[in-house]
């Protein structure tokens, strides 16, 4: 099965040419780049042999059944799970999932990708963003930690860090201090045994050889990270910086930006299910969504709910109006679960904020006008798509958004995360829309040439068998890596009574 574009990004690598643009799209382990003036190039991750070492079977976040990772999986080239273009469009940051790697590329003017660095993180990166004028990457991981890394590792780092790690190692050489005297309970006796065992074992993990500062952490899988700058209170004061992190346990945390990221300013509390996406509107309000029936608009500086907006109702209405789709509710509408897969700030409409929202496995784009302060946010438009949306990107020139590109799952039936399509019903992997004068979005054919070029190249590669998606991994019940990248959000929902 050919892999759709799990991520798309559009940018302008040439600051002097406001008419050209570059479209980047990831399909499995490959990143395609296509320039508006013609020309496509491809980069692919390599099969990695180094990570074939057995992974320690003890990652307490994983349920017991999952513990032993198949080293086989590591032999496939790792799949791209995130793409992020720096704000100056000079670099692309890509995350590859299976090898937990942050990869940085230089984007040249023609759109070619030049790989510059590759850093394997301790845990799988779940969300990334750039701060400090593109100088620093913030990486939020599956274990709940947020690291800051320089965009490019400096070559001297590796040596400095190796020395520092060695010093720490020798100074903190381990003396088991839980002696038979202090060990009084069965629990501690067990701990002492473990401790002695550990001392005999060689270190399983090497320290990372590149600069990475731990800024903050949740004890929960992180799903999203954002960064914001706000004018200081006094005139002439430096702008205040904030980091927003969201997790699987319904939390949205607001911390100060570095160097004070250890200070938590507050929590935006109101979700009952996981939070998967955060978005700052153009006027600066926070909009969050996840496994709940509502999106929430926040006055985040005071951690107050401004407004709740149903996302479930528009999804229900859409599915009822399109009964041909696989996911249409049959019996009880109450059972329908929505999982927000994307929220994007769109240009304001009638001088009010507006956002575009997608839900996992729902072939539509929901356009909301947001006015949380007056509590009059509303659905402006529902745009039907030719398949399930996987990602979305906006091309902006100054305040004007020229178009959006949505990547479409051409493999699965619209409305379903698992059912395959009929062979004769394979749409293009992307759809483009532009903003009409009435404030609504319309399909546009303006980009067709570029989109089609990219689509047919990916299709050709798929036919060559380069990009077969492994649909049926050896461990039943576990999603294939690609399935997890494409449809991993509903999976964040907790199952009642799982473990006690």
């Amino acid at each position: 099965m050919a892999i759709p574009f799990q991520c798309v990004r559009v940018c302008r690598p040439d600051p002097h040419d406001q008419s050209s643009w570059l479209l980047l799209a990831a399909s499995g382990p490959r990143i395609y780049s296509s320039h508006s003036s013609g020309g496509t190039s491809v980069w692919s991750s390599q099969k990695s042999s180094e990570s074939a070492e057995p992974v320690q079977a003890d990652e307490s976040q994983e349920p017991p059944g999952k513990k032993v990772k198949l080293s086989k999986q590591a032999e496939e080239p790792p799949n791209v799970s995130k793409l992020l273009v720096t704000s100056n469009s000079q670099h692309l940051v890509a995350v590859t999932a299976e090898d937990k790697c942050l990869r940085v590329f230089r984007l040249d003017l023609t759109g070619r990708l030049e790989p510059l660095s590759q850093r394997s993180m301790p845990k799988r990166p779940c969300a990334v963003t750039m701060i400090e004028n593109d100088a620093t990457i913030l990486c939020a991981d599956k274990f709940g930690d947020v690291y800051a890394l320089p965009l490019l590792p400096s070559p001297t780092d590796a040596d400095d860090i190796a020395v520092a790690a060695q010093e720490k190692e020798t100074s903190a050489s381990f003396v088991p201090t839980a002696t038979p005297l202090t060990v009084h309970s069965g629990r501690n006796r067990k701990a002492l045994e473990d401790q002695l065992k550990q001392k005999l074992q060689p270190k399983t993990k090497e320290p990372l050889k590149f600069k990475h500062d731990l800024l903050l952490g949740h004890v929960s899988m992180l799903t999203e990270i954002l960064y914001a700058e706000v004018e200081g209170e006094k005139t002439g004061a430096k702008p205040r910086t904030y980091i927003f992190t969201a997790d699987r346990d319904e939390h949205i945390r607001i911390s100060r930006g570095p160097p004070q990221s250890h200070i938590i300013e507050g929590f935006c509390q109101g979700h009952r299910e996981f939070v998967s996406k955060l978005c700052l509107s153009r006027s600066g309000d926070l909009i969050s969504g996840g496994g709940d029936d509502d999106l929430i608009v926040w006055d985040w500086l005071s951690c107050r709910v401004l407004e709740r907006i149903s996302i479930k109702q528009p999804v229900l209405d859409f599915l009822k109006a399109h009964p041909q789709h696989a996911g249409s509710p049959q019996e009880s509408e109450g059972d329908l679960r929505v999982a927000v897969s994307g929220i994007w700030a769109a240009p304001s409409t009638f001088s009010r904020d507006s956002v575009l929202v997608t839900c996992e496995g729902v072939p539509a784009l929901f356009h909301f006008i947001i006015d949380g302060r007056k509590k009059v946010s509303s659905l402006q438009q529902t745009l039907p798509l030719t398949g399930n949306p996987l990602d979305l990107t906006l091309l902006e020139s100054g305040p004007i958004t020229e178009f959006i590109v949505v990547s479409i799952d051409q493999t699965r039936a619209p409305g379903s995360a698992t059912m395959l399509r009929q062979k004769d019903d394979v749409p293009s992997r992307m759809q483009a829309f532009s903003l009409g004068s009435s404030g609504g979005w319309n399909l546009t054919s303006m980009l067709d040439v570029t989109l089609e070029r990219l689509n047919s190249q990916a299709q050709a590669d798929a036919l060559l068998g380069r990009e077969a998606e492994v649909v049926n991994p050896e461990t039943p019940g576990k999603q294939s890596p690609v399935q997890d990248i494409l449809y991993g959000i509903e999976n964040l929902r907790k199952r009642a009574g799982a473990e006690d």
């Binding site: 003890d58 990652e59 307490s60 976040q61 349920p63 274990f143 709940g144 930690d145 381990f174 003396v175 088991p176 201090t177 839980a178 005297l181 202090t182 009084h184 309970s185 069965g186 629990r187 501690n188 701990a191 002492l192 473990d194 401790q195 550990q198 399983t204 993990k205 731990l214 903050l216 952490g217 949740h218 004890v219 929960s220 200081g232 004061a237 430096k238 205040r240 346990d249 939390h251 945390r253 911390s255 100060r256 160097p259 004070q260 250890h262 200070i263 938590i264 507050g266 929590f267 509390q269 109101g270 979700h271 009952r272 709910v305 907790k494 199952r495 009574g497 799982a498 473990e499 006690d500």
Partner: protein
């Protein structure tokens, strides 16, 4: 230790007999409440927790402090949210014992802080039930003096949900007594003290508030000292001040673990840390 069916049945019969006899001042028996020592702080326990501190039904834990509906508007610390159906209390909880076990510290501190609300937080369900039963019994025994009305125990995974229970700067004291050591290097993230979790303790503590730690495992003591001292929101409390604090003595002698260690002639390592004011924005 899920126990043989027979044992489980006995437990259930026992607990039922307790609940039937609500006016009973008899203390609960520990043997019916023991539970496997470790609970995984990362897993999805079927825990219940409030969305936010103002959604917490505190009044059912501290009935003597329940706000009358007309005064609740004026006295609650948190502005109630729109759909706020929870019942509030007339003063906020100020002292939290994290991983309180069988509650020895709470029962010793409660009479010493008669005007302050204390809460124990425990992840193991039966251990938490034991403490709740004991509170019920002690309250009943001391109806005349009204002691123990200021103490409660809630089941919670504090490593994930502390900010769901407490607002910013709400607490004046946090106790971390004989925490599970988690020796393995890979399990450091499972420890109750870490550079990232310390930010959450700093969040719920008011400036000037104190984190109290005690352990019999010297390495864990060093670990806690290293991580609190390295955290810019905390400073270590000096020896003289520490030894002058009556809570320190109570912590040494009244926690169940503290007693056990004492019986074995083991050592107890104490360290306390003060929450400092946040620096101005850079």
């Amino acid at each position: 230790m899920p126990g043989a069916p027979k044992k489980r049945q006995k437990r259930e019969e026992y607990k039922e007999s307790l609940s039937k006899d609500d006016q009973n001042g008899a203390l609960p028996k520990k043997k019916f409440y023991r539970q496997r020592a470790h609970a995984n702080p990362f897993s999805d326990h079927s825990l219940t927790y409030p969305k936010s501190p103002s959604d917490m039904d505190w009044a059912s834990y501290y009935p003597a402090y329940a706000a009358k509906s007309d005064e609740s508007e004026a006295t609650v610390t948190q502005a109630p949210t729109e759909e706020d159906a929870s019942r509030q209390i007339t003063r906020p909880v100020e002292i939290a014992d994290i991983g309180c076990g069988y509650g020895g510290l709470l029962f010793a501190l409660a009479p010493k802080f008669p005007d302050t609300l204390l809460v124990g937080m425990e992840i193991r369900i039966s251990v938490c039930e034991f403490v709740q039963e004991k509170i019920r019994a002690l309250r009943h025994q001391s109806l005349a003096t009204n002691t123990y009305q200021n103490v409660a125990c809630i089941r919670a995974n504090t490593m994930k949900f502390l900010p769901n229970f407490f607002a910013k700067a709400q607490l004046s004291k946090i106790f971390l007594c004989f925490p599970d050591p988690h020796f393995k290097a890979r399990k450091h993230k499972a420890r109750i003290v870490s550079s990232t979790l310390n930010s959450e303790y700093a969040y719920v503590l008011r400036p000037g508030g104190i984190v109290y730690t005690i352990t019999d495992v010297e390495d864990l003591h060093k670990w806690m000292v290293e991580h609190f001292e390295a955290h810019p929101s905390f400073e270590r409390v000096g020896e003289v001040e520490q030894e002058g604090d009556m809570c320190v003595e109570v912590m040494r002698t009244e926690t169940e673990e503290g007693k056990k260690v004492g019986r074995n002639g083991g050592r107890k390592f104490v360290a306390c840390f003060r929450r400092v004011e946040d620096p101005p924005w850079p």
